[in-house]
């Protein structure tokens, strides 16, 4: 129960952070990606702030014996670069650049612009289901449940 409550609180804080930072607004994300236009560097500061705190959290978590609510850390351990990683990231990049939406913001704005966000989220879920048809997708370490980056 505590695990579920903390997941809810963490998801809520994540969504509030997306709203405060402006990253829940696809137009603002596209303004960052549009480097030859009227460039808005805000996304770089969002990433810098987020990475700094997430790195601190990781350093603390690694020194502790275990997380407070779980028996162990479940984080990705692979360090090799494989074609799937690069291909997947590139496909993701095309979609992100077309709409300015990625999974977190798309879910966060479901109640704000319901028709557009739900359309994108539904297509995204279909895309995720299509991935399951990729041969050996389920047995690849990169697809192990819950340890995706």
């Amino acid at each position: 129960m505590a695990k579920i409550a903390s997941a809810f609180a963490v998801g809520l804080l994540f969504g509030l952070g997306l709203l405060v930072s402006g990253m829940a607004n696809p137009a603002k994300v596209l303004a960052f990606l549009d480097v030859t236009g009227r460039w808005d560097p805000s996304l770089a500061l969002v990433m810098a702030g987020a990475v700094a705190v997430s790195a601190a959290g990781y350093l603390i978590a690694r020194r502790r014996r275990r997380p407070l609510l779980a028996p162990r850390l479940e984080i990705p351990t692979r360090r090799d670069l494989d074609p799937r990683l690069i291909t997947g990231a590139a496909i993701f990049g095309v979609g992100w650049g077309l709409a300015g939406l990625c999974p977190g913001p798309a879910l966060t704005i479901l109640t704000v612009v319901p028709a557009q966000a739900a359309t994108f989220v539904a297509a995204m879920v279909v895309g995720m289901l299509l991935f399951r048809l990729v041969p050996s997708a389920a047995s690849k370490p990169s697809a192990v449940q819950g340890v995706d980056a």
């Binding site: 997941a7 609180a9 509030l16 162990r72 496909i91 995204m124």
Partner: protein, 141 residues
């Protein structure tokens, strides 16, 4: 530079980072949205509850934001519906094939110094910038 919002961007970034840090310290998990959502598409398991709770928190964030007295920042989706469908398919498929998205690779993975996440983030950033360049500048969309 147009519409640059350094203060709110930094504050929001710190909140996103804090969310990832707390999740690691409490639940021992990576706050990667595509991984959390993708895991729900498998058979229900002991993992199902916290995954739904996390996503519910995300979805309810605008209501809580407004409830706390904040006026919601503008959200502008200028993309047509057919293009939203195409983009959504690519984002969903690509995030699973590439084992992560902006949150999992960009925020959590880079925070851990993961070489895979650095390469993935560099790749999707570069490709997204190129995509915007082609659609906005060359095709004039």
């Amino acid at each position: 530079m147009d519409g640059f919002t350094p203060l709110s961007a930094t504050l929001g970034g710190l909140m996103i980072g804090a969310s990832a840090a707390v999740f690691l310290l409490l639940n021992g998990r990576v706050a990667g949205i595509s991984g959390i959502l993708g895991g729900l598409l498998a058979r229900p398991s002991r993992e199902t509850g916290w995954r739904i709770a996390f996503l519910a928190g995300l979805v309810l964030a605008p209501l809580v934001y407004a409830g706390l007295g904040g006026s919601l920042p503008p959200v502008t989706v200028a993309t047509s519906f057919p293009l939203l469908v195409f983009a959504g398919l690519l984002v969903g498929f690509g995030a699973r094939l590439g084992a992560g998205c902006t949150s999992g690779h960009g925020v959590c993975g880079i925070g851990r110094g993961s070489p895979r996440s650095l390469v993935a983030t560099g790749t999707f950033m570069a490709v997204a910038i190129l995509t915007v360049l082609v659609t906005r500048r060359l095709l004039g969309a």
